[in-house]
């Protein structure tokens, strides 16, 4: 029900996914202008550009996870409804993942087209990287977003806390993407296993800490 409610709110307000998409497209254009015609230099940093854009767009999206709950303290209403409270954060993580993964799926072809990169990678590992990267990001993001929602100035605090904690996601995802796009192909699975381990930790942490977060 919480998932349905969050999708309904996004459908009505369009303030999470649309903002993320607009931001990613803007980043693509900025890099295209900044790097100009030097496509050789772009080849080396292309995976980094992709994930930096996803990181900052993701911060915008994840920051809105609890945004709808704040004006009328709707989160209190959810907490008082019957059922396990951990379902609230699980639902929030799932919704944030859908928005982030959806944004990545739509933005990926745009990156390749607008930055004039030819696709020579493997589809399955690339999609796995996007999914694991998105999940790791929303795991830590949802936790911090829940924390900052109850704190004055939380919206400013979120990116400051988020960026360092997301570094392991960025490093592993960038390296895995590099291996996937390399010619000849390299094995990305070592990096993806590291990313998976991070995902497991940051999926469990919000579910374990949520009871304590609520009284912060």
């Amino acid at each position: 029900m919480i998932v349905y409610k969050d999708f309904l709110l996004e459908f009505k307000m369009k303030d999470s996914w649309v903002t993320m998409m607009a931001f990613v497209v803007m980043v693509i254009f900025l890099f295209a202008f900044a790097l100009g015609a030097d496509w050789r230099r772009l080849d080396a940093i292309f995976p980094g550009i992709i994930w930096m854009a996803y990181l900052f767009a993701g911060i915008l999206g994840v920051g809105r996870t609890y945004g709808h709950e704040l004006p009328e303290e709707a989160l209190t209403g959810l907490m008082l409804a019957p059922g396990e409270r951990t379902w609230i954060i699980a639902a929030k993580m799932f919704v944030a993942f859908c928005f982030m993964f959806g944004m990545e799926l739509v933005a990926s072809p745009l990156f390749f087209i607008l930055l004039n990169q030819s696709w020579s990678g493997q589809w399955v590992p690339y999609l796995v990287t996007l999914a694991l990267g998105a999940w790791g990001f929303v795991g830590v993001g949802t936790l911090l977003s829940a924390l900052s929602a109850n704190v004055r100035g939380g919206e400013a605090l979120l990116p400051v806390l988020m960026a360092p904690l997301a570094v392991p996601v960025i490093i592993t995802a960038v390296e895995a993407t590099k291996a996937i796009l390399a010619s000849p192909h390299q094995n990305p699975w070592g990096w993806l296993e590291g990313l998976l381990a991070y995902d497991v930790i940051f999926s469990a942490l919000p579910l374990l800490l949520y009871e304590y977060l609520w009284e912060v």
Partner: protein, 247 residues
């Protein structure tokens, strides 16, 4: 639950928020069909008491029993308990009907849409059921909040200044519902700043000052003037100025 068993029993409740003790040794009982009003100055801990009783926050010490069973240490929501707080707990971007339908589904109410429509009609909001809540006036939001609580049919109703923002017909609707709730055996814990309201909605009234229940009495036969005098006296004793002098 035994018929004679109190719906709500609070024993020696203490609540700390950080380094500050917000509630100290609070004990009270509300039986089936009973109503207790709590008067107290700002910052006395009234809303905190409701949040603990609702299961939103855990007690730091003491016990909270609801429907004859102790509340778990970490605090748990119970669908038989409903809280009407300072905020509506609703989503401004959604319509009144959508909001209530979502709550109906969260509380697993059968035929939530029909129930939501009935709640909107009951509280005089049928005409604006499809308008976004952000377009509602303060009073309409309060009516919708009451409709949200009504549709869940709570047996224990926790009301934090429920009359705020309501126009006269809205107040009448709330009075009618509370009377209906009392007749059906429901219990009420009502927080208010107004002695007249306290007398209207409860069988007993207590005064909470700096986290402690300092006085209580049955409301039967008590006049609003007498209660106002008692309350003013306690505010003065507690060092709370009841009037401001510019002289």
């Amino acid at each position: 639950m035994d018929k004679a068993e109190p719906v709500l029993r609070v024993k020696h409740l203490e609540k700390w928020i950080g380094e500050r003790r917000v509630l100290a040794n609070v004990s009270l009982e509300v039986g089936p069909g009973g109503g207790l009003a709590i008067l107290g100055p700002n910052g006395a801990g009234k809303s905190t008491l409701l949040k603990v009783v609702a299961g939103l926050w855990s007690p730091s010490a003491g016990e909270v029993w609801r429907f004859g069973a102790p509340m778990e240490d970490e605090g748990r929501p119970d669908p038989r308990v409903n809280l009407v707080g300072h905020h509506s707990f609703l989503y401004p971007a959604l319509s009144g009907l959508e909001n209530l339908e979502i709550y109906g589904r969260l509380y697993q109410i059968p035929r939530p849409r029909e129930r939501a429509l009935a709640a909107l009609e009951r509280f005089g909001l049928g005409w604006s059921s499809r308008d976004p809540v952000r377009t509602y006036s303060r009073g309409m939001k309060q009516r919708l909040t009451l409709a949200r609580a009504w549709m869940c049919q709570p047996q224990l109703l926790l009301l934090d200044e429920p009359y705020v923002g309501l126009d006269l017909p809205g107040q009448r609707l709330l009075d009618d519902w509370l009377e209906e709730h009392r007749r059906s055996g429901g219990a009420r814990l009502v927080i208010t700043h107004y002695p007249e309201e306290a007398l209207r909605v409860s069988d007993a009234v207590a005064i909470l000052i700096r986290g402690r229940l300092v006085w209580w009495a049955a409301t039967s036969g008590m006049s609003a003037d007498a209660l106002t005098r008692e309350y003013s006296g306690w505010l003065a004793k507690g060092g709370m100025a009841v009037s401001v002098s510019f002289g």
